[in-house]
């Protein structure tokens, strides 16, 4: 029993985090809003060079052969800077799906190799979302159709852009028709893979939500320490201190649920639904509270476009409802709890482990 990350995991995360903090500043995010695609090819290539798109690609396909637990801290770091690029969806959500199929499907194998090197990009759709993020910059789309999953070249679909409140997000309704050629998998296996995809999607969203919450608290602490009213920093008012302390409590207790979810997805995927739903709900609550208390603590400044806070708030509002909204995830928890045979109680935090 050891609920810590390894030094390697922490070190790798730190190096990526430093890159992100330096390159993906609020100014850089705003700059990407002005681009037609909203995406910086240069930044994507830098991320590829850091190896992050290759992390979950199996070694035999030129990747690093790592897992979701290795990636979760990076996903959190992506949230901390509100990264516009679809790194989490690509590396954490889509890649493991391709990896599962790559042994028997050369299209997936070849695509994986090119994701690792940055030559190809993919986008991924799921019934939980309706819309597909970043389909416009993808070479291929992974799309569900009933119990099937299809791999469709972008030039075979029609994309209709959908404007989000978050100018960083690029969402698309996808018009396409399934055919035998594009079908990767179907039947019960398709259902299982779609379910696993949802769990990875929700895990990635939860990680980013916690990162966003942390960033908002940090910004707000700084703002309220600098801004003076009545001859003292506004952050010295107990009401604002308690706003931030309440966020800290939510964040600190969402984190371990996130890490447990990442562990469970990578090591015990059959038990992942419960762990992932818990993390998604907890992370969403932390991020929504951080948004609410941060704008309130900023006062009128927080309500402006020029204050960077909204970059983070809007992402939080969007991700809270992406890859399954709170109601969906709470209802999964509820169903699970209502089972009279549910394994719950003090000795079952990590499942039934008495031999």
């Amino acid at each position: 029993m050891d609920f810590t990350f390894t030094d390697d995991q922490l070190l790798f995360c730190k190096s990526v985090q430093e890159f992100l903090q330096q390159e993906v500043t609020p100014a850089a995010v705003r700059k990407s809003w002005e681009l037609d695609t909203g995406r910086s090819d240069e930044r994507w290539q830098q991320l590829v060079n850091l190896g992050v798109t290759a992390m979950l690609v199996p070694e035999q396909f030129g990747g690093l052969g790592m897992n979701e637990l290795d990636f979760v801290l990076l996903a959190q770091a992506c949230g901390q800077v509100a990264l516009p690029e679809p790194l989490v969806e690509t590396a954490l959500v889509a890649t493991p799906l391709l990896a599962t199929l790559a042994q028997r499907d050369s299209r997936c194998a070849s695509l994986l190799e090119k994701i690792a090197t940055g030559e190809r990009k993919i986008a991924i759709g799921h019934a939980a979302n309706n819309l597909v993020c970043d389909a416009h910059v993808a070479d291929f789309l992974l799309l569900p159709s009933g119990n099937q999953i299809h791999l469709v070249p972008r030039d075979q679909v029609k994309l209709v852009a959908q404007a989000s409140v978050d100018p960083s997000r690029r969402l698309f309704a996808v018009e396409w028709s399934a055919n035998d050629e594009t079908c990767l998998v179907s039947g019960p296996e398709g259902v299982a893979l779609l379910a696993a995809t949802l769990n990875r999607g929700a895990l990635g969203a939860a990680a980013q939500l916690i990162g966003l919450a942390e960033a908002m608290v940090q910004m707000t602490v700084k703002y309220t320490s600098d801004r003076h009213q009545f001859g003292k920093p506004i952050g010295s008012n107990q009401a604002l201190k308690h706003h931030m302390a309440n966020c800290a409590v939510k964040i600190e207790f969402a984190k371990p649920t996130l890490y447990r979810a990442a562990y469970t997805v990578s090591k015990r995927p059959v038990h992942a639904d419960f762990a992932v739903s818990h993390a998604k709900v907890a992370a969403g609550e932390a991020a929504l509270l951080a948004a609410k208390n941060s704008i309130q603590s900023h006062g009128a400044m927080g309500y402006t476009w020029e204050c960077d806070l909204h970059i983070f708030m809007k992402r939080a509002w969007a991700l809270d409802k992406f890859w399954g909204h709170a109601g969906f995830h709470k209802s999964r928890l509820h169903q699970w709890l209502m089972n009279p045979n549910a394994k719950i109680g003090a000795d079952k935090t990590f499942g039934e482990q008495v031999a």
């Binding site: 939980a128 979302n129 309706n130 819309l131 209709v160 852009a161 959908q162 404007a163 989000s164 409140v165 978050d166 997000r169 969402l171 309704a173 003076h228 009213q229 009545f230 001859g231 506004i234 008012n237 009401a239 604002l240 609410k292 704008i295 309130q296 006062g299 009128a300 927080g302 309500y303 402006t304 476009w305 020029e306 909204h310 708030m313 809007k314 509002w317 969007a318 409802k321 992406f322 909204h325 709170a326 109601g327 969906f328 709470k330 209802s331 509820h334």
Partner: protein
């Protein structure tokens, strides 16, 4: 206690309803935070003025109808029921108008009130400064007397409507040696005066709902000062009282939002798996009702000669948190579609909920943050110790 409307009140309601049915624009206007939308809303104010519905609470002598508070509530109920446009003239109607009537000279009233009532001139509000937000007495912008004029230098911020309005009312420091709430005066400035620069401040939705105003040797006649020199703080406080008070947010607004929320919930009821939403919808409705009841209660009390006190702080907290709660609940019902701007093809019945959600974020902040309001309640209403 008699919770029946009188025959006159019912007749008044019918008159309002019938006029609105004939005049409310068939299509929603654009946001008044756009140039076109502002002019559309100004037009609407002029339409209201022509029907004599622009300033129902103002005395008849100033172009109003002399409505009492109950009649005002009825007017508002019908106004929101009819989904009539938001009031771009709000600063004039509720903030400056009543203040002018109390403190203005006959000349000022003649000059300013008439054009305000007709919808010809729109007013912005200019109190806050970069270093003077919650601590409004920290104002540093100066208006220095020079013969028959004031020479104004400094900066205002969070000035609502300033981007497209014609005039702004401000408080400036007229006694440079003074500090805190002494030595301030209440002064009107035309926004097209030489030396005035208006920098729009875009809000969360990207539209410039407020602005910074820079004053660089701006000259205005002394006749633009309301009240005496040095009386600015008291006048502003009485205005702020109106702002926070009964009339800033009429209950009708929230009751109609609650009604729309109930309808949204009914439509989606079968897809909703989050049981807390059901509770949140009921709670939203209850609170919108409670706000209406409390307002009727206060209105009745004021009409029997009572005064409004710290309950304006209680109101401010209640409606602003209610508005947030209702919009959060709607966003939860809309789920993954909640983030979409309404013109997106996949937006479906998202409607104006997102707009309303963004706007609701400002409620607990403006007109005195809710933290300040809670201090006021604790200290002035409950008598807890300041220090």
């Amino acid at each position: 206690m008699d919770l029946n409307y009188t025959a006159e009140q019912i007749a008044f309601r019918k008159e309002v309803r019938s006029w609105l049915e004939q005049h409310v624009p068939a299509r929603p206007l654009q946001s008044f935070d756009t140039k076109e939308g502002f002019e559309q809303h100004r037009q609407w104010e002029q339409t209201l003025a022509k029907g004599n519905w622009g300033m129902v609470t103002w005395p008849k002598e100033y172009g109003g109808r002399g409505c009492n508070l109950i009649e005002w509530l009825i007017f508002e109920e019908e106004y929101y029921r009819a989904q009539a446009p938001l009031r771009v003239n709000q600063n004039g109607i509720f903030l400056l108008g009543p203040t002018l009537m109390e403190y203005g000279t006959p000349e000022q009233k003649a000059r300013f009130i008439t054009k305000m009532a007709s919808g010809e001139e729109m007013w912005a509000q200019g109190w806050s400064e970069p270093g003077a937000g919650s601590d409004m007495a920290a104002i540093r912008s100066k208006a220095i007397r020079d013969g028959d004029e004031y020479v104004i230098n400094g900066q205002k911020v969070w000035s609502t409507r300033a981007v497209f309005a014609d005039w702004v009312f401000c408080i400036f420091r007229t006694d440079p040696a003074s500090d805190k709430h002494h030595g301030l005066s209440f002064i009107f400035v035309p926004l097209n005066a030489p030396g005035v620069t208006v920098r729009p401040i875009p809000q969360l939705n990207g539209l410039p709902g407020f602005a910074e105003i820079f004053f660089d040797d701006v000259r205005v006649p002394v006749a633009n000062r309301l009240g005496n020199e040095g009386q600015g703080w008291n006048i502003a406080m009485s205005t702020a009282g109106f702002e926070r008070g009964l009339m800033l947010r009429s209950p009708a607004r929230f009751q109609e939002t609650a009604k729309r929320l109930v309808a949204l919930y009914r439509e989606h009821r079968n897809d909703i798996v989050d049981l807390s939403i059901e509770d949140a919808v009921v709670k939203s409705f209850m609170d919108a009702e409670a706000y209406a009841l409390a307002t009727y209660q206060t209105a009745s009390r004021l009409m029997s000669g009572g005064k409004i006190g710290p309950e304006s702080s209680v109101n401010k907290i209640f409606w602003s948190e209610l508005d947030q709660h209702m919009h959060e609940t709607a966003m939860s019902i809309l789920a993954a579609r909640a983030e979409l701007l309404p013109h997106s093809s996949a937006a479906g019945d998202v409607g104006t909920w997102l707009d309303g959600f963004l706007f609701a974020q400002s409620g607990p902040i403006y007109a005195g943050t809710n933290e300040i309001q809670r201090n006021i309640i604790a200290e002035r209403m409950l008598g807890m110790p300041r220090k």
